[in-house]
């Protein structure tokens, strides 16, 4: 086929222009503000209708978008962020992805990895996680993450205990059982923690686990003894005791109870009982 003569001029010109434009376009796209890249997504209800039977696919692609966006920000060498990430846009995208597919574990995992640590929004991460628990009813990792957030970031030990107990029930992992017991004690529910640990120790099939749960139960029994003496002291004197020794001197304790973890019991300012061991053998060695 013979080309018409003008095309011999036009075609190379077009090719050269194309090369010029395509590299400029690639450069523009690369440096496009992140907010524009990630920022706008249609409303969830619109997406639900348009996605037809591809909701899970759309959810996964939104999540991949967030992962790639975040991955692009992280300097691989130092593993630190080069530019501040657009966290609200990321949260919005994760929220949309979860509305489309509430079973998508990548969303929960990513929310947990970023929101409490980098954004200081453990509450938001927990809102996602608690939402996920109603769907992923078999998954111990969600209550485990949420329990950790409650205990570590929010100091809400009652909720931490509740979630660790759920993680323990779902996974049968002894670590969660022990943590659940510990947080129940710190939430002021020592008797509940003792009953819980007692039950767990009796149903534990491994002897090592049974022993570990038994030690924790013994420690909490000692705590309970001190708590009862403290309450009696307060009733009698109208004020909290200053230390555990005050209770011994008042004749309410026969001696300072022994902490099986090797620590020494003391009273916090609010009257709650703690030990220098923090109820772990590592703490007792310090």
């Amino acid at each position: 086929m013979k080309l018409p003569r003008p095309l011999y001029v036009i075609l190379p010109l077009l090719m050269a222009s194309y090369l010029l434009v395509v590299f400029a376009l690639a450069d523009y796209m690369k440096n496009k503000p992140f907010l524009e890249k990630l920022g706008y997504i249609p409303s969830v209800n619109t997406m639900k209708v348009l996605a037809a039977d591809h909701k899970q696919f759309l959810s996964s692609s939104l999540m991949l978008k967030v992962i790639m966006y975040y991955g692009g920000l992280v300097d691989k060498g130092s593993n630190s962020l080069l530019v501040p990430a657009d966290y609200p846009a990321m949260s919005r995208t994760i929220d949309a992805a979860l509305k489309l597919d509430p079973y998508n574990i990548d969303c929960y995992y990513f929310a947990q990895a970023i929101l409490p640590w980098d954004v200081g929004r453990a509450d938001l991460a927990n809102r996602f996680l608690e939402y996920g628990m109603t769907y992923r009813t078999w998954d111990w990792s969600l209550p485990f993450y949420a329990g950790f957030n409650y205990a570590y970031f929010m100091k809400d030990y009652a909720n931490a205990a509740r979630l660790y107990r759920r993680a323990a029930e779902l996974s049968g992992n002894d670590m969660f059982m022990n943590l659940a017991g510990r947080y129940m004690q710190r939430s002021g529910k020592t008797e509940m923690a003792i009953a819980y640990l007692d039950l767990m120790a009796r149903s534990a099939r491994q002897s090592a686990l049974r022993k570990s749960l038994g030690i924790r139960r013994d420690a909490f029994l000692a705590v309970l003894t001190i708590e009862k003496a403290r309450d009696a002291y307060q009733q009698k004197n109208g004020k909290l005791p200053g230390s555990v020794d005050d209770l011994v001197q008042a004749g309410l304790l026969h001696g300072v109870p022994h902490d099986p973890y090797g620590g020494t019991f003391y009273l916090r300012n609010d009257g709650s009982v703690n030990s220098t061991s923090g109820f772990s053998f590592e703490g007792g060695k310090k």
Partner: protein, 263 residues
């Protein structure tokens, strides 16, 4: 009837549109590498991608074969020579419908096998915490075939209503979108959020809900991807619904086709 089915099936396999769609099916090979981008659910992502791609290809096939099958024959004037044979129009239409359905089934079987192989490969890269429930996967793919057969039946109905190209194609696409949204619209209209809506709108929504196909009933993707147990009701009700709904559509299409005048 058997002859019509066999001839049409061969014609579909020789069709260029089908070859184009086969090229799209090559995307299945990319699934394991794309799935490995997931942080915690590589296997689940591979199932999601496989099912979505399969469903998308079936949609393309349903529209291209269902909506153009009758129209093409009329356009090329094949219909006249065929209908001059001692053969009633109803048999001709049902034969064509059965051949398209059989082809969908055949294509699903081949692509389903490829999809399963890709899922198996992906699960080797990063084993899932949840075991893959292969039976759920098969049920989900089977439900997809039923859904697209209903869509093909709609395409045939539209083809009998109009000999032009537009109504069958765009009508089928509209039914697909509407059929996937009816359940959501119905749930919304009967929720607390829509309390203030006028009764007329609510009744109209309910009427459309019962009239239009409910494709959400055939969506078993969550069960297949996350291994969530399937109840017997989730299986036999859609199958019954499919049998009755498709029969009605085909009877209507046959009735219209038998009475229509061919120029």
């Amino acid at each position: 009837m058997v002859n019509i089915v066999a001839i049409n099936l061969l014609a579909i396999i020789r069709d260029r549109v089908f070859h184009g769609i086969l090229v799209v099916a090559l995307l299945f090979l990319l699934i394991p590498s794309i799935s490995s981008l997931s942080m915690r659910q590589v296997t689940e992502l591979s199932i999601t991608l496989s099912l979505s791609l399969l469903s998308f290809i079936l949609l393309l096939l349903s529209i291209s074969l269902g909506a153009t099958s009758l129209w093409k024959d009329i356009e090329r004037r094949y219909t006249y020579s065929v209908l001059s044979l001692p053969l009633d129009r109803g048999t001709f239409l049902v034969g064509k419908f059965v051949s398209v359905t059989l082809f969908l089934l055949l294509a699903t079987f081949v692509m389903g096998a490829v999809a399963c192989a890709m899922i198996w490969l992906s699960s080797g890269i990063y084993p899932s915490e949840r075991p893959i429930v292969w039976w759920n996967l098969v049920a989900c793919i089977g439900a997809d075939v039923l859904k697209y057969t209903v869509l093909v039946a709609y395409a045939f109905l539209f083809s009998t209503l109009s000999t032009s190209f537009f109504l069958p194609i765009f009508g089928t696409i509209s039914v697909f979108l509407a059929g996937n949204a009816t359940q959501q619209a119905y749930d919304y209209v009967h929720s607390q959020a829509a309390k203030t809506l006028p009764a007329l709108v609510k009744n109209a929504a309910s009427f459309l809900y019962y009239l239009l196909p409910n494709f959400s009933a055939f969506d078993l993707k969550v069960n297949a991807i996350y291994g969530i147990p399937l109840t017997a009701k989730a299986l036999y009700l859609p199958v019954l619904y499919f049998c009755i709904y498709t029969s009605l559509l085909i009877i209507a299409a046959t009735a219209i086709f038998s009475r229509s005048e061919m120029k």
